[in-house]
């Protein structure tokens, strides 16, 4: 088994989770069960506050308001999962619902 980060990028809604369409919320609720069915394991799952709450420290120590990269789709949350291989990790990524963005699958460095 290897660990992967499943990074969720999506458009930001003015009211955050409260504005999310019901089917996306339902989709998220169903994720853990789907991951188990795939045979992978959730190590950690986190949702982030909107980018308006982010603070960035630039090279040299300058503090700025907002995310490191401004873009239409922002990091909305992430999972750390344990999976057999990339195909299984991709299967996990596919079961995470997104509105307009996408999912990035990154293998983690392991000893």
């Amino acid at each position: 088994m290897a660990q992967y980060a499943i990074l969720i990028y999506d458009k930001e809604l003015p009211g955050g989770v409260a504005d999310m369409p019901q089917e996306i919320l339902d989709g998220h609720m169903a994720v853990p069960e789907k991951i188990e069915k795939i045979g992978a394991k959730i190590v950690n799952a986190q949702a982030t506050q909107p980018t308006s709450t982010a603070t960035t420290i630039r090279k040299g120590g300058v503090i700025t308001d907002g995310p490191f990269i401004e873009s239409k789709e922002a990091l909305a949350g992430f999972f750390v999962i344990e999976a057999e291989n990339l195909d299984q990790a991709i299967a996990v990524g596919k079961c995470v619902p997104v509105m307009e963005g996408g999912i990035e699958v990154r293998p983690l460095i392991q000893e």
């Binding site: 290897a2 045979g39 057999e84 291989n85 990339l86 195909d87 990790a89 991709i90 699958v105 293998p107 392991q110 000893e111």
Partner: protein, 416 residues
């Protein structure tokens, strides 16, 4: 017993073409590392040259090479534990694979696993093509670079990056599950088709075909068809390649000028290739709803079996294009459909279709659009406009044969 060196060289070259994929795929399983496996297989082929000269070409060259390559891998692994690095390749045993997908058809061939790994959608298309040629066909990096008009260092770096990703992200050396198979197979067929078209129409430079690439593509399609006999689209792709390749000798004249389908000497087409393609097309069509490769093969097959350009079954070709657009919506397919429609409904009708495509902008910069439009205008007697569009196509043309053809057309239209 010593065997003539040239005969041995031929036997080794033959084994390289026929057996490389199987030898490498089996060695990968032992080595657990793509670079190491490649090295060991390369060494085995070099050793074969001497050993076979000394004691004769073995009855089963592939088995000899596999044994030698595997032994090289075992030796290397014993010599250095360093090789058992963190970047160890993920080789699944058959047991796990069947446990994961027990309902999967029993396709147990390491060559298939190798092909599906090389054509994994997590790799860029360029990397998929380069890896497939290097690992499955055993083509030297320098030759891949030459075929794709790229710098050797670029191709080498691309292959290294792809191998690193395969190891780090654990792209598995295994068949995709049944749910993913159609999509993954399509990716494999796309790579083979791209290898073929690159060889068939050299994108730039002097020569119109690069025979080696074409043959690698046909070999790959044959291997896949032998290993996956129930997949209709594999049959369709093989048929498409065979039928197109059958026209290889007539695509240019003796001076290298491009010949249109209607100008080609049909008596020179390779009948055996067309017949084999035709059998594959019929069997693929009989098995169920056709996919994009089978439909393209069926279109190419109708062209190849027509005795003249004029008596070609254009109506049937238009119908097949309609089906093709349904399974594979693409502006290029719509453009080709317009060419066939011109033969059924006349150039004025086809020109309207081409102009619609021109307006929607998806084919901006596609060299065949102005060329086809120019041809339709020429047939309608609107020569001044035709010249303008031939000129547009000339700017976009990428090889000498096509440039020469267009220049000829411009001269002919201007002379009127």
């Amino acid at each position: 017993m010593t065997v003539a060196r040239t005969a041995v060289q031929r036997a080794v070259a033959d084994a390289h073409r026929r057996e490389w994929a199987a030898v490498l795929a089996t060695t990968v399983r032992v080595a657990g590392d793509l670079d190491l496996a490649e090295e060991c297989v390369q060494e085995a082929y070099v050793a074969a040259l001497d050993a076979w000269t000394r004691s004769g070409v073995p009855a089963k060259p592939g088995a000899w090479l596999t044994t030698a390559a595997k032994r090289n891998a075992f030796d290397a692994l014993r010599r250095a534990d360093v090789l058992r690095s963190k970047l160890h390749l993920l080789v699944e045993s058959d047991v796990t694979e069947t446990a994961i997908a027990p309902e999967a058809p029993a396709v147990h061939d390491d060559r298939l696993r190798l092909v599906f790994m090389c054509c994994h959608p997590a790799l860029s298309l360029e990397s998929q093509v380069a890896l497939t040629l290097r690992l499955v066909c055993g083509v030297a990096v320098a030759d891949i670079a030459k075929a794709f008009l790229a710098a050797e260092t670029t191709v080498a770096a691309r292959i290294t990056r792809a191998k690193k990703k395969i190891a780090a992200a654990r792209v598995p050396f295994q068949m995709p599950g049944p749910a993913d198979l159609p999509e993954r197979l399509d990716a494999v067929l796309t790579v083979i088709h791209l290898v073929f078209t690159t060889g068939h129409t050299a994108p730039s430079g002097g020569q119109l075909t690069r025979t080696d690439l074409v043959e690698f593509a046909i070999d790959l399609a044959r291997m896949l068809n032998q290993l996956m006999p129930t997949e209709r689209e594999v049959r369709g792709l093989l048929a498409l390649l065979l039928v197109n390749h059958a026209r290889r000798d007539t695509r240019t004249d003796s001076s290298g000028r491009l010949l249109l389908l209607e100008e080609q000497d049909r008596s020179l087409w390779d009948r055996a290739g067309i017949a084999e393609g035709h059998r594959l097309i019929v069997s693929a069509l009989a098995d169920g709803p056709p996919g994009r490769f089978t439909l393209q093969a069926a279109i190419a097959g109708l062209h190849a079996t027509a005795s003249t350009y004029a008596v070609t079954d254009w109506e049937q070709i238009v119908t097949l294009y309609d089906e093709l657009i349904k399974v594979w919506p693409s502006p290029v397919v719509e453009l080709n459909r317009a060419v066939a429609a011109a033969m059924v409904h006349g150039p004025a009708f086809a020109l309207r279709l081409v102009e619609q495509l021109e307006c929607d902008g998806r084919l901006n910069g596609y060299r065949y659009l102005p060329a086809i439009k120019a041809d339709l205008l020429r047939r309608l007697g609107r020569t001044a406009e035709a010249v303008a569009f031939y000129r547009q196509a000339l700017v976009l043309a990428e090889n000498d044969a096509e440039r020469e053809f267009l220049t000829g057309r411009i001269a002919a239209c201007s002379a009127r």
